[in-house]
Assembly symmetry: C2
Homo-oligomer: 355 residues x 2
C-alpha cells in the first residue's frame, strides 16, 4: 500500500530547485487498441485494461520497486495527498471502479490507468528540464509499447478519448513562480500573449484553479501536427521568454519600488512565522514572497527546499495527513500555522542588504 509520507518529487531538496521554475512535467495519453476508451467501456473491459496496463507498468525498467494501487484501495486522505503532489489527477478520484496507478518509489513517475484514457503516463521533476523529463517519458513509452498494443492512426497519431489530446497525446507543462509579473500587474498581458501562441496558462491545480502563491502552470495546448520535440522546443522558447520577463519585472521592482518589495517579503516572513491560524491560500502567498527572498539573496539558498515543500505541505490533505485524521478547516488553519511557525523558526533573519 502507498505511504504518502514517502516520496513527493516536489518536496525534495537538491540542486534542481531554481528561481522562477518550480517543476517540469510531461504526460502522455495512450490507449489500447482492443478496448473502448474508459468512459465507454464495460466494467469487465476496464478490468482487463487495468490488469494489462498494470502488469506492463510494474515490469518497466524505467524504475524499480513500483508502487501499485487502485483508487479504491486508498483512504480519502491518501487520495488528497497524491492529488496535491500532482501525482494523480483530481478527476481520477471520481472514478468508482477499476482505476488505479503505478508509481515510481519517489513518485516522480506515475502511470494512471483508466482515467480519461487507458494510460496517462507522467514524469514530474523539480526545476526546468524538458530534456531529461522527455527522455524518461519517451523511454517509458517505448517500453510500454512493447508490452501493449496502442491505439494509433497513421493519419492522426495516438488516439485519445478527448480530441484535444489526439496526435502526440503529450501535455508538457511547467510550474512557474511569477511574483514579479504579478506585482507589476503584467500577468494578464503575458497570459494573452502566450495564449496566442497556443499555450495555456492555469493556476496551481490546473484548469479553473486560481494562482495562489503567484504560481502558474504553463502548458502546450496543441498535440496535433507537430512532433514532440518540436512542441517542447516551441514551449521551451516561450517559457524562456516568460522567465526573462519575470526577471525583468523583478529587476524593475528592485530598482523602482524596493520598499514595496521589502514590505511584502517582510510581512510574509512575519506572518508565516507568527500566525496561529492561516489558510492554505494565505500561506502560499506568504511562501511566494519568501521564495522570492531566496531568489533575491535576502535569505540563504538552503531555505529554498523547505519553502518549495511548503507549497505542497500547506494543502488541506497534507495538513490532515500530518495530523493522522480528518480535521475541520478551522483546526486545519491552526495546525498549518503551527507547522510553518516551526519551519520558519529555523530560518535566519531577512537580510535586505545582501543583493
Amino acid at each position: 500500500m502507498i505511504d504518502p509520507t514517502k516520496g513527493g518529487e516536489l518536496m525534495k531538496a537538491g540542486a534542481r530547485a531554481v528561481p522562477v521554475t518550480l517543476s517540469t512535467r510531461i504526460r502522455l495519453a495512450r490507449n489500447l487498441r482492443e478496448f473502448p476508451f474508459p468512459g465507454w467501456a464495460e466494467t469487465s473491459q476496464r478490468r482487463a485494461v487495468m490488469s494489462a496496463c498494470r502488469e506492463a507498468a510494474e515490469s518497466l525498467k524505467t524504475f524499480k520497486d513500483p508502487i501499485s494501487f487502485e483508487v479504491d484501495d486508498l483512504s480519502e486522505l491518501q487520495k488528497l495527498v497524491l492529488v496535491e503532489r500532482h501525482v494523480i489527477s483530481r478527476e481520477m478520484l471520481q472514478i468508482e471502479e477499476a482505476a488505479g496507478a503505478v508509481l515510481s518509489p519517489d513518485q516522480s513517475v506515475s502511470i494512471m490507468i483508466n482515467e480519461e484514457d487507458h494510460l496517462r503516463m507522467q514524469v514530474l521533476r523539480k526545476g526546468f528540464d524538458f530534456k531529461s523529463v522527455w527522455k524518461t517519458a519517451k523511454k517509458m513509452d517505448l517500453e510500454m509499447e512493447k508490452a501493449l498494443e496502442y491505439a494509433f492512426s497513421s493519419d492522426y497519431g495516438f488516439l485519445t478519448a478527448c480530441p484535444t489530446n489526439l496526435g502526440t497525446g503529450m501535455r508538457a507543462s511547467v510550474m512557474m513562480h511569477l511574483p514579479g509579473l504579478s506585482m507589476e500587474k503584467h500577468m494578464d498581458k503575458v497570459i494573452r500573449g502566450v495564449n496566442e501562441l497556443g499555450i495555456a496558462v492555469r493556476g496551481l491545480f490546473g484548469e479553473g484553479t486560481d494562482a495562489s502563491g503567484n504560481i502558474f502552470q504553463i502548458s502546450n495546448q496543441q498535440t496535433l501536427g507537430e512532433g514532440e520535440e518540436e512542441i517542447l522546443e516551441r514551449l521551451g522558447r516561450t517559457l524562456d521568454e516568460v522567465k526573462t520577463q519575470e526577471i525583468n519585472a523583478r529587476e524593475s521592482i528592485l530598482e523602482n519600488s524596493s520598499q514595496m518589495l521589502f514590505d511584502k517579503i517582510g510581512r510574509s516572513y512575519g506572518l508565516l512565522g507568527n500566525a496561529y491560524k492561516i489558510t492554505s491560500s494565505e500561506a502560499m502567498d506568504c511562501l511566494s514572497f519568501i521564495r522570492l527572498a531566496v531568489d533575491c539573496g535576502f535569505l540563504p539558498e538552503k531555505c529554498r527546499a523547505p519553502i518549495d515543500a511548503g507549497f505542497i505541505e500547506c494543502q488541506p490533505g497534507h495538513v490532515q495527513f500530518q495530523a493522522g485524521h480528518n480535521v475541520d478547516p478551522d483546526e486545519r488553519d491552526a495546525m498549518r500555522a503551527e507547522f510553518f511557525r516551526k519551519k520558519l523558526s529555523k530560518f535566519p533573519s531577512l537580510d535586505f542588504d545582501k543583493t
Copy 2:
C-alpha cells in the same frame, strides 16, 4: 523655545504604566472676568489676556522652569507633535494670533491661553489616578485664582465660552485600551450604556476621531450641578465597571478563543517587526495587540513602556519630527516601519505558555 523631543508624559517609562488604562487627564476651563471670551475679544484684549495669564502661569509653584510659547512661535511640526501628545488641542492650531501655552518641563501640566476659553489648564498622567491628577489641578487652579480674577457666577459656577463647560469647567477623561471588548464586539453596547450615565466615549484624538489601536477616551459630559469630586467619583465608578468588563472579555477570549487571540497577537508582532511600510492606523492596531500580550504575560513587563510610547511615536508629526523635516505620507510609512522594526528587534519572542 519648546523642544518636542523632550518631555511627553505619555512616553515615559515607569510604574504608572498599567493594563487597560493608559492615562488620566483633567482640564479646567477658566475665564477672566474683565475680558470677553476669546472668540468675541478684540486682538488687543486677547493680548492683554495673554500677558496676564502667561505671567500668572509662569509664576506658578506647581512646577518649576515653565516652557512658554505662542502658537505662532512654533513650527508646523512642533505644533503637530504637541497635539499628538495631547499637550495642546488641535483647535488651538487654528487660532491666528495671541494664543499660546505654558507647560511644565515634562509636559504633564499644560495651560493653554486664548483657546476657546481664556484658560484651559490640563494635568495629564500615565495610568489611572484621578486623585493625584485632581490634586495637582486643584492646586494650580487655586494659585492661578490668586493672581487672576475668574469669571464666576454664584448661580452657575465658572463661566465658559461654551455652555457645555459651565459650572465646574472640568473635563476629566481617561484613555482606555479596550481590545477585549472590541474583539468581543461589545463596544457599541458599552458606549450606549455609558452614554446613558452622561459619560462620553470618543476615539484617541477626541470627538469624531476613530478608535485606532482599540483606544477609547472616556470623559464626563456634565459640568453643572455636581461638584468636582462628585463628578470624578461617579466617572471613576463607571470606569471601574468598564475595566471589569474589559478584563472579563479578555478572560472569556483566553478561555474560548485563545487561538484567535494568539493569532492576532502573533500577526501584530510579526507585522510590526517585519513591515517596510506601515500606516499609523495599522501600527496602532498592532501595538494594541502587543500591549495586550504584555497584559497577558506573553511578553515581559519591560516591553510596556516602549509600546505605550509607540502609540504616540507612530503619529505623523512624531515621525516627521524624528526625520527633522516634512515627509510625504509614503515615505512616512517607510520611516515608521523602520522605527518599529528596530524597536521590536529588542523585544524577546512571544511566549504563549506563560499565562
